[in-house]
Amino acid sequence: MRALAAAGALALAGAHAPAFAQQSPYADYQRMAAESAPIELYEAGGEEAWKKPQGPKQVSLEKCDLGQGPGVVRGAYAGLPRYFADADRVMDLETRLLYCMETLQGRSREEATKRVFGNADQASEMELLSAYVAGQSHGMPMRPGVEHAKEKAAYQLGRELFYHRAGPWDFSCASCHGQEGLRIRMSELPVLSDPKHVRPLMATWPAYRVSTSQFKTLQWRMNDCYRQMRMPEPKFASELPVALITYLTVNAQGAVYRGPSIKR
């Protein structure tokens, strides 16, 4: 499909570039780093993982329903998180992929979540799949579910969690991401309740982190904020990270998805 691309090289490179606030001292850096990020390597790995028969049933994920019907990958990421009737819960991409691994491939939750986050030497299957699936929504407006009662509840829960202070340092997400115009070190802090800040952000995750040369997912990012909040670690695919991701994505809705991109 990608072979259809007829755009000029510059336009292609620009496709990964996030629109950062121009006042950031890092604006040039982030634009150039985004243009030269090795993201296609991860997307290609993810496509391979998507098509690989696995688990007791030895089937691939190609029949996985990401919300647009079984096997539809194009545009699926832009529609997440959303409510899934078969699971009777709101799911983000990673949670849904895990659901498909369990139900379609017959894999145990334990096996499928043994190594959800990889490292620089070896990306995880979840990271590669996230790169591939997200990349297939490139250029599409983000339309997470906002109608179903459970979608509304997830948003509400995410909002409450966002402001809830806890842990040895008394932090909430809003301690760093709640007020306009602040920096941590030299990095601008986006206000995650504000669409103007959160749109460019959510439009570019999942992402290649230049500081560690690793491709990282949104659930990893939620966990890393809790790590920095000096809290225990969220369980993968539990209601907690899904609610936060729902809150952030709904705040960002309407943004044109331009990822996967880069982060510091």
């Binding site: 691309a5 000029g8 090289a9 090795p38 296609e40 620089a120």
Partner: protein
Amino acid sequence: MAGPMKMRATSQGGVTEIRVLMAHPMETGQRKDASGKLVPMHFIQNVTVKLNGKTVVEGQISQAVSRNPVFSFRVKGGAKGDKVEVSWIDNQGETNKTEATVA
């Protein structure tokens, strides 16, 4: 551990832009692993770009090129359908190469 490559070559206005990605750790020999042991130097040393079999760029690089290197090169001309090949050799003798057709 070194791995796959991805490349695309796009012709526009008489210039072909070649963008190539290489999975490679580019270890400096100064990083310690989780157990505190130094990770040995492991980095690409030579990169060669060929257009229709003829060498057009030869690069020598050090361990200070970032992990998972991404290069862009430009060649004059290059019609749709022309073959571009990029190969590398690292300091441990590993090599890889990839080919693409100019689009």
